[in-house]
């Protein structure tokens, strides 16, 4: 009886300790997965692997638990360790570097969470210098999430999924430095080849600022995009970033296509508290139809959040995707550029329900930015006799949709 109770206690302890995740060994493959015997490790082919920035930077804060959850780091570490265990030379693709590779593996990762489990699904394509993949497929692995703060569950899922991808590539292609020599430079990899052009990772709004067709938008709309496309009606153009400021959250892109309609700035860039404004954007793409959304409101405050600089507050409703859109006066002048909104989630928990608290960069700072980068724009005398029709025509005629692909 005493022996039985001791065994039960030990089993109970094992059960408790099993709740915690342990870091899996990158050199050990999952059960039932085997490498061809002809493959000698580590494989000497030079590999460059690509992971989208949106996934690598995936990080959020759980306020109730006072922890940061970092799926991006878990993914990055899991993939790095996976490749490091099987290849003597594997690097994350950096298109600013001239490093050479023999095989390029484009990985499109996706997380799925359900019932305490984390599943990493990796779609992948393998290239060797040409535009056509020589191998493609999808692998996934599911593990217990465990304690979120240490990210071990997410790391293990990433590592195992990476191992499955690697084993498939190694078994199918049997690569080596001789049959896939390192002769392609990372900097020459086409952004269009890697970017998943089926679906944008984010969308935003921009507007023409001069007849040369240069477009002003919020810098965060373009953040880490491999390809940015400007949609005008049913046409799409690849955009080239000409100037950008993270501090102002402002950028200018160009498509090289001249235009007739663009937004002028108000001379003196003065704004009047309470004046009516029009905001136009392309919010909630994928949910709403791809036509511009126009909302009306007022300048609520000359300043924004406590400590914010260069911004004012306005009340016209905005949604995700409205960023970079113009805030236009009834006279048809540009007053500001939509950059952010008040995060109501945390305030709602405290019992407050703020309404229509949105922020725009004051056009005064946009003018200084354009001057600094020698980008032309037009300033007009304040038109105090305009109305909603003037504002609508000016805003709708100049606004464009921006799609970010990674």
């Amino acid at each position: 009886m005493r022996f039985l109770s001791s065994v039960l206690i030990v089993l109970f302890c094992f059960h408790l300790s099993g709740c915690a995740n342990t870091k899996l060994n990158a050199n050990k493959l999952p059960k039932g997965v085997v490498l061809n015997k002809s493959i000698t490790l580590p494989v000497d082919v030079s590999v460059a692997y690509y992971l989208p920035h949106s996934q690598l930077n995936n990080r959020f804060y759980l306020e109730k638990w006072n922890i940061w959850v970092d799926p991006g780091k878990s993914l990055s570490d899991g993939v790095k360790d996976g490749f490091g265990a099987y290849f003597s030379n594997a690097k994350l693709l950096d298109r600013t570097q001239a490093n050479q590779y023999g095989l390029l593996i484009d990985i499109d990762p996706e997380w799925k969470f359900e019932s305490g489990k984390a599943e990493m699904i990796m779609s992948y394509r393998v290239f060797n210098g040409s535009d056509k993949p020589i191998r493609e497929g999808q692998k996934s692995f599911k593990t217990d999430i465990g304690y979120l703060g240490d990210g071990l569950g997410l790391y293990n899922a990433s590592l195992r999924a990476t191992q499955l991808v690697i084993v498939d590539v190694l078994n199918a292609l049997t690569p080596s430095a001789s049959n896939y020599p390192a002769q392609y430079a990372m900097k020459d990899v086409s952004a269009n080849l890697l970017a998943n052009m089926k679906k944008p990772v984010s969308t935003g709004t921009g507007f023409y600022i001069n007849p040369q067709g240069q477009i002003v938008t919020a810098a965060h709309v373009l953040k880490n995009c491999m390809v940015t496309q400007v949609n005008v009606g049913d046409k799409s153009f690849d955009a080239v970033v000409e100037a950008s400021s993270t501090l102002l959250d402002l950028a200018v892109v160009s498509t090289g296509t001249p235009v007739e309609q663009y937004l002028p700035l108000r001379k003196g860039t003065e704004i009047f508290l309470g004046e009516a404004i029009t905001n136009v954007g392309y919010p909630l793409q994928g949910l709403l139809a791809a036509s511009p959304n126009l909302t009306r409101g007022n300048i609520s405050s000359r300043e924004a959040l406590k400590g914010a600089v260069g911004q004012f507050q306005f009340s016209a409703p905005i949604q995700p995707g409205s960023s970079g859109g113009p805030v236009v006066s009834d006279g048809g002048e540009l007053l500001g550029i939509t950059v952010s909104t008040l995060n109501v989630t945390s305030l709602r928990e405290s019992g407050a329900l703020p309404q229509n608290v949105n922020f725009a960069l004051d056009a005064k700072y946009a003018a200084r930015f354009l001057d600094k980068h020698h980008i032309s724009y037009q300033s007009v005398e304040p038109n105090m006799k305009g109305d909603i029709r003037t504002a609508n025509a000016a805003a709708l005629g100049a606004v464009v949709q921006l799609n970010c692909y990674q």
Binding site: S6, I9, V10, F12, C13, F14, L16, S17, T22, K23, N66, I67, W68, Y147, G149, D150, L152, A219, H220, K223, S245, T246, L247, L248, D249, A304, L305, K306, G307, A308, V309, G310, Q311, Y365, R368, F369, K372
Partner: protein, 177 residues
């Protein structure tokens, strides 16, 4: 005239030790941290670089985020598992022993874009009672004392980041009249 010049040079020589060395001062910075310690905050704010830092100005585009996490070590996992079994088997009479790397990360962000990120790491072995409510991942006195020592290194490291002077110049161009 040469006499006047000599007097002027002598004067400059005499006052030179009293001229304060030029120090880098960042524009206002919003501070967020998972480390619940006023001493830690005050130590950072006491440096010239972060003298304009505060915890109130939530809309500030410049943010310093300090976080920590515990990373288990290979040996620590095995020892932790054994000690957890022993602690459970003894119904809590024996302590649980853990061995983790405490990783402290400083992130300097502009509009949520990371400009600089530095991490410091230190190994800690601790004994916990199963029934104590201190939490396996909270910072105790020793860990906090070590965290305080990282501030000097961080100040030294962040000043080497080339983007920092560019950022200060840009901030002054737009917002300092």
């Amino acid at each position: 005239m040469p006499f006047m010049l000599r007097i002027l040079m002598l004067g400059l020589l005499l006052i030179s030790p009293f001229v304060k060395a030029q120090t880098t001062v960042l524009p206002p910075v919003f501070f967020i941290s998972t480390i619940d310690s006023t001493d830690f905050y005050n130590k950072l704010k006491g440096t010239p670089l972060f003298e304009k830092m505060d915890k109130e100005n939530i809309g500030n585009p410049l943010k310093l985020i300090v976080t920590y996490n515990m990373e288990p070590t290979a040996g620590g996992e095995a020892a932790g598992l054994t000690s957890a079994i022993l602690a459970g088997g003894s119904l809590g009479l024996l302590p649980m022993v853990t061995n983790n790397d405490l990783v402290l990360t400083y992130e300097f962000r502009v509009h949520n874009e990371v400009v600089a990120r530095v991490s410091y790491r230190e190994n800690f072995t601790k004994a916990h009672n199963m029934y104590s409510n201190e939490g396996l991942y909270s910072l105790d006195k020793d860990s906090l004392a070590w965290a305080m020592t990282t501030t000097d290194k961080f100040i030294e490291d962040i000043q080497k980041v080339p983007e920092l002077s560019h950022l200060i110049n840009e901030y002054n161009y737009y917002f300092v009249q």
